[in-house]
Symmetry: C2
Amino acid sequence: MADAVLFEFLHTEMVAELWAPDPDPGSGGKKRSLSVLEGLGFRVGQALGERLPRETPAFREELDALKFLCKDLWAAMFQKHMDGLRTNHQALFCCQGTYVLQDNSFPLLIAMGSGPQYLEEAPKFLAFTCGLLCGALHTLGFQSLVTASVASLPACKFQVVIQKS
Amino acid sequence: MADAVLFEFLHTEMVAELWAPDPDPGSGGKKRSLSVLEGLGFRVGQALGERLPRETPAFREELDALKFLCKDLWAAMFQKHMDGLRTNHQALFCCQGTYVLQDNSFPLLIAMGSGPQYLEEAPKFLAFTCGLLCGALHTLGFQSLVTASVASLPACKFQVVIQKS
């Protein structure tokens, strides 16, 4: 029994708990649930970022920070590396770094079914991790917007847009 | 950066989220928060119990199940063993097994302050784990009641009462 599954089980149950159907359908319950999960992920990401080994050099370049997320952070969370990191050069041209992080088999999506009928269920399993990536980047000194998209389960892409100050 | 801290950070933030002050002080909000955390722990414990290695023999004796919690489950969660397991013989006499599991430095209590003024904050950090122990025992075939007590932070005791059918 590996302790990695402990995080995954707790994440699953936390989503189930915080995604409880809103009694008032007009109150934006779904959006609120997503932002609660994102906020929770953000704070966990901030805390993880602060646990960086002290000998790690500062991340002066944003690409270094992104590589850190794809390798070290992903290894700590899922015992593997992200499958791809792509830079959107067009966006870079407008003084904004946009990166696409690809996981071909995202562990927090594996537990759910893989048919296309499950696609609409995916956002609730991605919100925490979007917040977490954003929180870790915040600790590393970068403001960002992180969104996720799924075309075919259990693969997913995280798009990170670094906000220039 | 160890992935063990991921579970601890997530637990801390989950408690902060689910322990949000109840707007109606007369509605039993505290008790409800505790039972939500316990329920969440129960389901995680059930899932962890199902991940037992297949070669593990069935736990015919409840003492075997308790030893499993103290060693294997605690190692998977906190990378250490429980510090003590005591049987309450008086309770056994009434056909009910009562066990006291002692952790002298419970990781989920370490993050909070250790002065006596923090004692009243402790229950919210114990509810999830009480539920988890109960859920794991349920998967192993034992109905139980699990409560926790703290005399001096960050040490705590979990009392497990096995319900005979």
